[in-house]
Symmetry: C2
Subunit: 456 residues, 2 copies
Amino acid sequence: MKKIVLSVLLFTSIIYSQSNDQQMLKNIYNYSLTKSNCYSWLDDLSNKIGSRMSGSVGAEKGVAYVKAQLETLGLDKVYLQEVMVPKWVRGEKETAYILDNKTKVNIPICALGGSIATSKNGLTAEVIEVHSLKELETLGIDKIKGKIVFYNRPFEPENIDAFKSYGNCVDQRYYGARDAAKYGAVATIVRSMNFRLDDFPHTGAQSYGDLPKEQYVPTAAISTNAAELLSKKLKENNTLKFFMKLSCQTFDDVISYNVVGEIKGFEHPEKIMIVGGHLDSWDLADGSHDDGAGVVQSIEVIELFKKLNYKPKNTIRVVLFMNEEFGSRGGKKYEELSKTYKENHIFALESDAGGFSPRGFSFECDGVNFEKITNWKYLFEPYLIHSFTIGETGSDIGHLTSAKIVKAGLIPDSQRYFDYHHAANDKFDAVNKRELELGAATMASLMYLFDQYGID
Amino acid sequence: MKKIVLSVLLFTSIIYSQSNDQQMLKNIYNYSLTKSNCYSWLDDLSNKIGSRMSGSVGAEKGVAYVKAQLETLGLDKVYLQEVMVPKWVRGEKETAYILDNKTKVNIPICALGGSIATSKNGLTAEVIEVHSLKELETLGIDKIKGKIVFYNRPFEPENIDAFKSYGNCVDQRYYGARDAAKYGAVATIVRSMNFRLDDFPHTGAQSYGDLPKEQYVPTAAISTNAAELLSKKLKENNTLKFFMKLSCQTFDDVISYNVVGEIKGFEHPEKIMIVGGHLDSWDLADGSHDDGAGVVQSIEVIELFKKLNYKPKNTIRVVLFMNEEFGSRGGKKYEELSKTYKENHIFALESDAGGFSPRGFSFECDGVNFEKITNWKYLFEPYLIHSFTIGETGSDIGHLTSAKIVKAGLIPDSQRYFDYHHAANDKFDAVNKRELELGAATMASLMYLFDQYGID
């Protein structure tokens, strides 16, 4: 009899918490779609402040703005974490053209982050097209020396996950200059990291690695349409010339900040759960998707908890990281300080894949925790959140090394992301209000469940 | 022993067909994302032909274009079905303004389909704002007579499915004029059917129902921003005036066509499975989402089968319906002819919810068939297709009445749909190539499975 009573009690308690959870998620989604501020914060970040390249005035303004917004939410603590960030400036708008039998065809081009400039008058050379870093080896110094290496391996269209195509291509952008310089290339250009054929050059990080400084060469991206054209023209005339002029410059590191806001946990204040995105963007646009969306969604999570009067068991922290795009100094600094203060992070969630319709999460965790998470799937079904996978989560939270931390990354629909990524069209009007809000609600729901049920 | 052998054989055969199905879906998605023509067909339909309002030259061109494309695919049969369609012409661009203490504020406005014109000099009257058809009754003839009724109930933002919000609002557009005229209104205006606050008026069908012709009143949509403004100004001054001028006109019905292409089934040629969308659009834009996307995706399904050398067991027919937007004459005619020829339709699939990332299907079928369908879910998981529900499917196939037919509607992500629906921005550049192609592949996959396993 006792057993039966206990079973009934247990069953009742499970049903009760299930229906509690369902109600809480409903409240979260409802609030987010009807009263949240995230879209108007994004409007401010994008349209009043604009691009927030690390080290820039825009980034400074971004820091001040989100700090001020966090301060209106009645949190227990809002503060800055000082971090030294690189300062690279694009300078005058880049120019480039194909010179083919005296006809000039202008080419949309942009320097990659950290690139050195060309000489003031620009640089003209023959072009050699390759499709991988490896191909440089086959070609050898004889065929490469004195030329511009043109990386033109396109995104694989057959992948369902657009990030897979990006991952399989981005070595050309990231290590293209480093590797080609070793074979005597005078510069490198890379086909933009994008499926779509269009006229936007997409910038992004690159690294000269351990190359001696005097071997650095200028490196830039050209639009996908331009890459197609250049490739076609090279087939007709492989001695055509390419002109490019970059005026970018690297300055000394400058002071910047991560912005942090927190609600103290009432049961386990020492256990920290963070939600975040990165406050810096590239310089070509507002970075509304990358990662204005993640910033405002993260703030929305903490707003939702406050407005729904939810008292978290664990300490909930929103962290807006500086300099993700270009060195990840904010992420590194956050982890460094967390070690200094011997903080115990149990959960970290990042949104840095655009403000599109949320589809699910990827997780870095062990099998036990993943099973627990997948048991929550039914709670997300009414909101069309269906994809729970093991995979990469976020580059800022990537630095966190607490022993038992579970990490998660919001997975929005990925198909349109690279239409905008690091390009001049990553602007406010590319973000849909409802999709942004659904993402914030999805994040808040996961934070709530982890706060309720902890990690194993 | 015999039993064991039989079980092993059965098991092997199940495993074999599972892996066959997985491979077929993989081939379908691969082909669609790498070689399909649907995006370039949409480019032609949208940018070379443009809007395809039924009864217009654009619609005629659309018919000729898709017929010609189908004829290149090596189908067994391509033909037209004659159908008489209404012809309503917008005429001169509409104008409207608020006249408030002698200050004029221009208002983006467009006539609703089938509306009568105002007089040549337009119409000026006081405005009464309502939020439902029912409210007319409460207000009564005294408060309504001589005024313009302004329907201003907004989309409910809290619904996850955007179509639910549309469904809960659209009575204002569809029956607004019919009902207000009974209370002596001189015209009606309706807040556009859209979540977003913007400056696009969204047209759409309306019906005067059984109202005597002499009681018809002009009816139009204003943009959501304009609706907000008008509502605000009415609170300040409820005797302000509203001017509107519509020049639209209804002509006699004209001849148009459904376009049909088919592959004969090799096992059950008498069993017909159709896939379709509607060829007509509204007149304000190309109708790239509504329903150019559905048209080219449907043609893509049949192209995929041909290119993958798949021989269907049943007859597969692509049907591009005329006049969905404004009378559904094409859908009705198709069913009428199908009855005349005593055709047996076992399955119908429509795509008419935009060319956005596909999420699943809604079905009209009994429980036995729905269970069968849900057993296929695992096949769709790699393509992030997760939502299989019972619900409305498509208005063209809605007319089909075969005894045991299963109907399905493609469900793309719905969040952005009403940003474009029936408005001047429903253009080619609002459609993402990959999302369109994923939709086509998803449709072809379902058609394949129904062709293989039939309906119960």
